[in-house]
Amino acid sequence: MINTHALRISRICLLLAFSLGPAAQAADTPTITVSKSDTIALAFQPITGPDGPAITRVLESDLAATGYFTLSSPGSASLIVAGSSSGSQLDGKVSDHGGRSAVAGTYNGDTRAKAHAFANDIVQTLTGNRGIAGSRIAFSATRTGRKEIYIGDCDGSALQQLTHDNSISVGPSLSPDGHLLAYTGYKAGYADIYLVNLSTGSRDRIIKYPGTNSGAAFSPGGDRIACTLSKDGNPELYVCGLNGSARRLTHTSGVESSPTWSPGGDEIIYSYDDHGGPQLFRISSSGGSGQQLSTGFGYCTEPDWSPDGSKLAFNVREEGSFSVAVMDLRGGSARIVASGERPVWGPDSRHLIFSDDGVLYLMDVQTGRKKAIVSGLGRATEPTWAH
């Protein structure tokens, strides 16, 4: 199956047929094409160095979670992962049985950061898609008896309580680069949008118009926030600058909520309710009129646009309970993938995080596999995931 001629190139490019990303297309000649249901079998040589065993554990966990790989014995694996760590530096490589290099790189940072960077490079090089290892999530949880915002990694590790408002802190949104977080806070007695700079720790109440200010969603560039404001006498969608300036997008008698941006920032999909049975609409981020999306469901809320632009995840309510639905925006119908609510896409446009009965789950939409990543913090809801 392996084309020996192409193997002479220094970086083998293994392509999964279903995941042709731009990076893969631009890379060297593909040498292996794996069919849709296949995964790449990897084996590990323990990473050497003082933190080698810890790196190996994080790396195995990261790669298994991607859905692209199976971990197997060296004999049956097509590729071997190895590396050596010293101080803040990890030299990692992936090679075939002949010792020919498929991935080779140097990764810096602490133990977890090095492992995550190596895992993401392996995913990017072998599949052409972005990895999710070490990407940041945030959510609201009731551990203290009040709703506060928590942040952590997408596998549920490195969790920290971010707000200590002792009020109601909900609806977080991480900027795509993960450096900023906006949330709805009631510290001043009204629903206002707060902005936290996660690098400096500074916090500002940036959107505080009369009425309710909520549902913040960062634009792909991280320089604008789409949200719902009621200052003009009815909940409408607005696009705000980080200085709080607001530009109105919609003019209706119903309720607009939960905006989500297209990857290019030129469009917004949101939920619109006019006397029951909310539906999803699409509008230019510079204004105009919203066009209804045909989902096939009578009650759809809280949409989330995948970073590759191809899919939409949202809530569907049927017979009193909520399900997570995924729709292909290039055509095709919506399908239910799990029970739960508030699904958000990861950087790979393949995994979702959503809440179900106060527990956060990470799900591989392609395989349907899911695992609990946050539990025991009271009720955890309203996840957001940096891209």
């Binding site: 609201s140 709703k147 009020s167 109601i168 909900v170 609806g171 709805t184 009631y186 001043a188 007695g189 009204y190 629903a191 505080k208 118009y209 009369p210 009425g211 309710t212 909520s214 549902g215 719902t228 009621s230 200052k231 003009d232 006498g233 009815n234 909940p235 409408e236 607005y238 709080g244 300036s245 607001a246 530009r247 109105r248 003019h251 209706t252 008698s253 309720v255 607009e256 909520s257 939960s258 939920s271 309710d273 006397h275 029951g276 049975g277 909310p278 809320t301 809280e302 809530n315 309510r317 009193g320 909520f322 609510e341 508030r342 809801t381 309203e382």
Partner: protein, 171 residues
């Protein structure tokens, strides 16, 4: 279309276009207290908040008027609450009293949707009051979504109690 009519149509279009541009610019330049856009289509803008006063603060009386209630997933004012609403409207016609209307939902529905629904409930009540003579400058709104339920149980009885708008009268 005759050439003359065409010419005047073009001229008129240009004038309209220019004047609407001028209007737009003026509106943006006029910013006002609420930012660059104070569009009034579809509602009466809320007045600026009063410093140091909110639905959560001690200087607000939440028991002067009873709450009004709503049907599931609805923000239409119920006719059975008209007595309460008229009393609030009357209170807001005379004197200097101001009111914060807080909208709430039951626990069914997702959090952000519920925050929108709660605000719509508060605004529906406000619209009713405005149509019955209340002064818009004396009313604020806020939504708490499904937070702070009156009854924490998960049954029809509790949900009906929790779908409400409350009145916080500033002391």
């Amino acid at each position: 279309m005759t050439p003359n009519l065409l010419r005047s149509t073009i001229l008129l279009s240009c004038i309209l276009l220019m004047s609407s541009c001028a209007l737009f610019k003026k509106k943006n330049a006029g910013a006002g207290p609420y930012g660059s856009d104070s569009d009034t289509v579809g509602g009466t803008p809320l007045p600026e908040r009063q410093e140091g006063v909110s639905f959560m603060s001690d200087n607000v009386d939440k028991h002067k008027f009873p709450p009004v209630h709503f049907a599931f997933d609805s923000y239409a004012v119920d006719s059975s609450d008209e007595g309460t609403l008229q009393a609030v409207a009357q209170f807001l016609q005379g004197g200097s009293g101001t009111v914060i209307i807080a909208g709430f939902t039951d626990e069914r529905g997702t959090p952000e949707y519920n925050r929108g629904l709660g605000e719509s409930r508060a605004e529906s009540v406000r619209d009713y009051l405005l149509h019955h003579g209340a002064d818009a400058s004396k009313i604020q709104t806020v939504s708490f979504g499904a937070e702070m339920p009156v009854d924490p149980d998960s049954n029809e009885d509790a949900w009906a109690k929790n779908r409400r708008a409350e009145f916080g009268v500033v002391k």
